[in-house]
Structure formats: structure tokens, C-alpha cells
Assembly symmetry: C2
């Protein structure tokens, strides 16, 4: 089975709900682990990587959580399928660049995903919709405990888990959430928030992680420190920070609606107008406009329209997902036209925004 057939449809994946999902798109906990007896992937010979990949893949596939999982070596994915996985936030852009000697195991429900031989031998991650960091942590902690009985992880009693990059040393944990923050962006408070969050030793990144843009007003917030604190403490600390950001975002939306309603409606009306009537539109513009419509849905400006529609369009209009809907290889210019055609078609039944009562 091809990975694209294995994956839930974009609509199915967007219908998963969770707490605070008006702001928190998803929660993620990932653990970095390495085998004691094998050099880190960046240092290992190809034969060592291939062998390690086989051992790890077997261990992961045997987990009860992985019944019915999808597992394959990275050389069996074509460029578009790899990009589809990136657009779904299931693998990193770095992992998408890997080939033989690297692999992927993805659970049937898509909540558990193990990248093999990315930067570390194992990057195992647990995903949940909305703000559910503890649940995500518990799930990945269980996977980790089970794997530890089968695989010999590189661990130092002084330093903790050893990782390719020292920023992951110790717990090897990265706890993160994807946040939709159009209110803080439009009210121009976002930079101030980013500074505060950074001072609290958390990192704020763009839609596709480190060094990427916050397209669609989506930001990733994650812990910076992996040493000197227990995993539950790290999870708890970031959970509290996220609750604060959620409150700030909701306040920013409410305040803008109260003090600058016309500016607010103007953003959302124009976003709808362009999305529903353009005949050529880039992926980037689409994300930013869908984000504004999503904000409008949250403020009851599109009666009868579900957030899931916008989230689905956010996925299916991205380059690889768009390409999957056509057999011929599309150039960027053709994609812009087909993306606009799709948006006009899908928004045909959606009436223009109304001013909320």
C-alpha cells in the first residue's frame, strides 16, 4: 500500500478535535534515542545505517501500538509522497531528504510516528489534536519503555540519553504545539509574545519548524532545554505557557473585535473575497487567507461553516497534496491555477462573511 492511500483523507484528519483547538492545532511530544553500539546516523557508514534501520524497524513494528502500522524505507517514497508527509507534519523536512538506510513507521491512527535514522537513530513522536501534551507524553513514554526492553539505547548515568546534537541531550524530549495566532499577529503583539516565550526558554518557530515562516499565522512553540528537568516537569511547564498564549490570543481576538471591528471584518471579508473569486493563487497567499477565514469562523462570521473545512483546505491546497489530485506533473504556475479552481469550487456554497451579532 502506498503511504497516500494509508493516510486518512485530509478531511478525516481535520475532523479530529481536541481541547482548545480554536488556537492549538496539535500537540506533539518526540523523544530522540540512539543505539549504543552504532555510530550516530551522520557518522555511520551506509551499511551500518541500513542494519540499524532494520533492527529498529523490527522493534518498532512489534509494538502493540503499531498493529496495522505503515512501515517502509525512505528510498521507497517518491518526492511527492515525502512532501505529503511533511505537509501533514508527520516527518521533518530533513527526514524527507533521506533515502536507503532511513525509515518510517506510522501507526494506524497516525498518532505515533517513528523516524529512523533522521538526525538520531530514533525520533519517535506522539501527536494529538488540540492541547493534549500529557496524553501525547504518556503515549510516547509507553512506546519508549517498551522499546527500551528490546533495544540497547545509548544512555549515560551522568548525561542521560545521548543524542547527535547536544541540544537534545538528557531527556531527548521535545514537547511542542502548533498554534494558530492570527489575533496576536493582526494586533501586532506577536513579537512581544515571542520574546517573552523565548525568555522562558521556549522556542517559537514557523509552520515547518526551525527557520521556516509562520505561514497562515501558525507558530510552533517548544521546549529548548532537555537537561536538568524531568519529562513531566517539562511537559507541565510548557502546558502552562501554552495556556497563557491561548488566553492572550483569545483576548487579542476579542479586543480587536471590540475596538477595531472594521479592521477585523476587513481582513476576513477580503480574505473570503479573494479565496472565493481568484483564478490563480499561491500556496503562501492561500494559507494566510485561509487563516483569516478560520479566525472568522471562530467569531461566528460564517454561520454553518466548520473550522474543519478551512483546516482541510489548508492541507489540500499545499503543493504535494494538490499534486496528488492530478496525474500529470504540475508546474508551480499550473498549481496556482488548479488551487484557485479548487478553492472557488469548495467555497461556492459558502456565503460571504456576516457581521456577528
Amino acid at each position: 500500500m502506498n503511504i497516500y492511500e494509508f493516510l486518512s483523507t485530509p478531511l478525516e484528519s481535520c475532523q479530529r478535535t481536541g481541547p482548545h483547538d480554536g488556537v492549538v492545532l496539535s500537540s506533539r511530544v518526540r523523544l530522540a534515542r540512539n543505539l549504543r553500539a552504532v555510530p550516530f546516523p551522520g557518522r555511520a557508514k551506509k551499511s551500518e545505517r541500513v542494519k540499524a534501520c532494520e533492527i529498529i524497524r523490527k522493534g518498532v513494528e512489534e509494538l502493540p501500538e503499531m498493529i496495522g502500522a505503515f512501515a517502509d524505507s525512505m528510498e521507497h517514497f517518491d518526492v511527492t509522497d515525502k512532501q505529503v508527509l511533511v505537509e501533514r507534519h508527520l516527518i521533518s523536512r530533513e527526514h524527507a531528504a533521506k533515502s536507503a538506510g532511513s525509515g518510517l513507521v506510522l501507526s494506524r491512527d497516525e498518532t505515533l510516528c517513528v523516524m529512523i535514522n533522521e538526525e538520531d537513530h530514533l525520533r519517535m513522536q506522539s501527536l494529538q489534536p488540540g492541547l493534549q501534551l500529557k496524553k501525547a507524553w504518556q503515549a510516547i513514554d509507553e512506546v519508549d519503555s517498551r522499546l527500551e526492553t528490546k533495544l540497547d539505547f545509548a544512555f549515560s548515568s551522568d548525561l542521560g540519553y545521548l543524542t547527535a546534537c547536544p541540544t537534545n541531550l538528557g531527556t531527548g524530549i521535545r514537547v511542542s504545539a502548533m498554534l494558530h495566532l492570527p489575533g496576536l499577529v493582526l494586533s501586532e503583539h506577536i513579537n512581544q509574545i515571542i520574546q517573552s516565550v523565548t525568555k522562558l526558554n521556549h522556542a517559537v518557530r514557523g509552520l515547518y519548524g526551525e527557520g521556516t515562516e509562520a505561514l497562515g499565522h501558525v507558530f510552533q512553540v517548544s521546549n529548548q532545554m532537555t537537561l536538568g528537568e524531568s519529562e513531566p516537569d517539562i511537559v507541565e511547564r510548557i502546558h502552562k505557557v501554552l495556556l497563557q498564549i491561548i488566553e492572550l490570543e483569545m483576548n487579542a481576538r476579542t479586543k480587536m473585535l471590540q475596538t477595531k471591528p472594521k479592521v477585523f471584518f476587513n481582513h476576513i471579508g477580503r480574505a473570503y473575497g479573494i479565496l472565493a473569486h481568484s483564478h490563480s493563487i499561491s500556496s503562501k497567499e492561500t494559507m494566510n487567507l485561509l487563516s483569516l477565514m478560520r479566525l472568522g469562523v471562530g467569531e461566528r462570521m460564517f454561520p454553518g461553516v466548520e473550522k474543519a473545512l478551512l483546516d482541510e483546505l489548508f492541507i489540500v491546497t499545499q503543493p504535494a497534496h494538490l499534486q496528488k489530485q492530478f496525474t500529470d506533473k504540475l508546474e508551480a504556475e499550473e498549481r496556482d491555477i488548479l488551487r484557485a479552481d479548487m478553492l472557488r469550487d469548495r467555497l461556492k456554497k459558502v456565503a460571504g462573511p456576516v457581521i456577528p451579532a
Copy 2:
């Protein structure tokens, strides 16, 4: 009667039709004349201007063409009313800055308009919808002949009519047309056309004449030379140039529709989408987007919608016309909101663009 009450409604004024009015918004011929015995307005003392203004106004008001005309001295117009006249292209921005000692006479049907003590003692102009330069010339020529029997114009047998600025010397004629050229702008041929027209000794200017922007893709084309050629020859020469520009514009539209239909539809769809759904919009953006919708109407993309609707919106969304619809003095920001409210309301019944068969 206030000038605003005297004027036709914007809708009435936009329902006047003429040949080639898909491209030529209006034709105009103006003659510059001065009294022999009085210094040019820029040189005359106020008392001389006031006296000359009275004499001229009396002469003009007595013309049979001016039965039922509106006549007044410029100090009796408030700033908004003056700006309304500028937005209707009935007086120049320079004349709007005048006060006591300058005046205006406007015929009942608004086709004849005499500015008194603008740069010259008389700037008399004839206006017609569409391409009707000869008709406009004949009308103003008749006014000129009649006035000449009553007023002693400064005339030299060597130089012709004397004018304040030497660029008007001789015939004192300025023949011009307002052209809507979105096809040439979008296809990026406009600069080439402007160069060619300039080489033929014609001037190309923006929406409000010399030194103004071509807002809404509207350009004024006029003769440069006023000496050495008879008036009918000047009219005939510019008429031929305009016919060529009309053809180039229509070809540009057709070619763009054939070779880049998606780019074409994209411009028009987005223009409609923004106009129909924004909650704040500047006058400049409005003009440019209405221009694109007007182009769409010409290509049957808005079945049932008349050009006149767009032309009317083009007028009523301009600052002074917008101000006239409200009693309180509006700030620019308030105008942007009220303009958007008006556009959303007026376009509520207009469905989005369709791709022409």
C-alpha cells in the same frame, strides 16, 4: 440652488452613452480666450478680475445654450462642492482653488462649461460622452462665435488668440478624450503606446490631468500643438489617433482573454471579491478595482450588469461625492469604511464573475 442639487445624479450622468464608450469615457474640446483690455488673470488686480468676471459671466449667461444654466462666483462654493465638480471633470483642480474674481457657468445639460478667470479669462469647454470630438468642437465653436460678437477677445493676426501660457497660443484649443485602457495596462503595452502618442505630438495624462496618476486605468489624451493647424484639422488628427488607440485597447483585451485567460479572470475575480467583501477601502484601490470590473463587464463576465453601474460607483466613491452623502464631516479613515459599506451594499445583488462562453 446649490451646485450639487443642480447637477445630474451620478447615475444619470453615467447613463449618457456615446460611440466607443467601452473605451472612450468622454470627449472634450476647450478653448482659451482672453479679453483684450484686461491683464491675464495671473497679472490682473483683484478688482480687475472681479470686473472682468462680471462682464464675462453676463455675456456667457445670455447665450441661448445657457438657458437654465448654473452660474456663480467661486467664493460661493464650499470645498466639497468644488471637489465634486473636479470629480465630475467639470472644472480643473486649479479652478477649484479660486475664489472671488473667478466664476463658473454650467449649461443645464452639463455639456457646456465656462471657467472664468482660471489661467485665462475664459476657459470654455464642451463635453460629450464617448468619442464625439467633432460634435464637441461644433458646440464650443458656436459658443465662441456668439461670444465673439459681445466680448473683445485678445487676438493677433500673426499669433491668433493670445493666452496666459504660450502652449495655448493661436487656436487656444485643447481637444481631449478620457480613455479607459485596462487592456493596455494589464498587457504592459501602455508605456509603448504613450511613447508613440507623445511622438505624434499628443499628450497623455492621468485621471485629473497634468501630473496626476492614471487611477482606474484612465488616461487623458490631448493635442499638444495649438499653433499652425486649423481647429478642424487638430480635431481630425486626434480623432484618428484615438481610433487607433481604441483598436489597440480592444485587441489587447481580446488577446489577453485568448492567450492568458486565467490571468485575465484572476484580475477581475479578485477585483470583484475585494469590492464586494471589504470593510475598508481607499478611493485609489476602489478606482483600480472598479476599472477591472468594468473590463469584466465589457467581456460579458457579469451578465445583467451595466457599465453604468461601475461608472456610477467610480463617481460616488470618490471623496467629495462620498462626503455629500453624509452630514458630518468625514475623516479619510471614516470615508474608507463608508465607501466599503456602500460598495458591499451596491454589489450585494451582483453575482461573482462567470467565465464568458
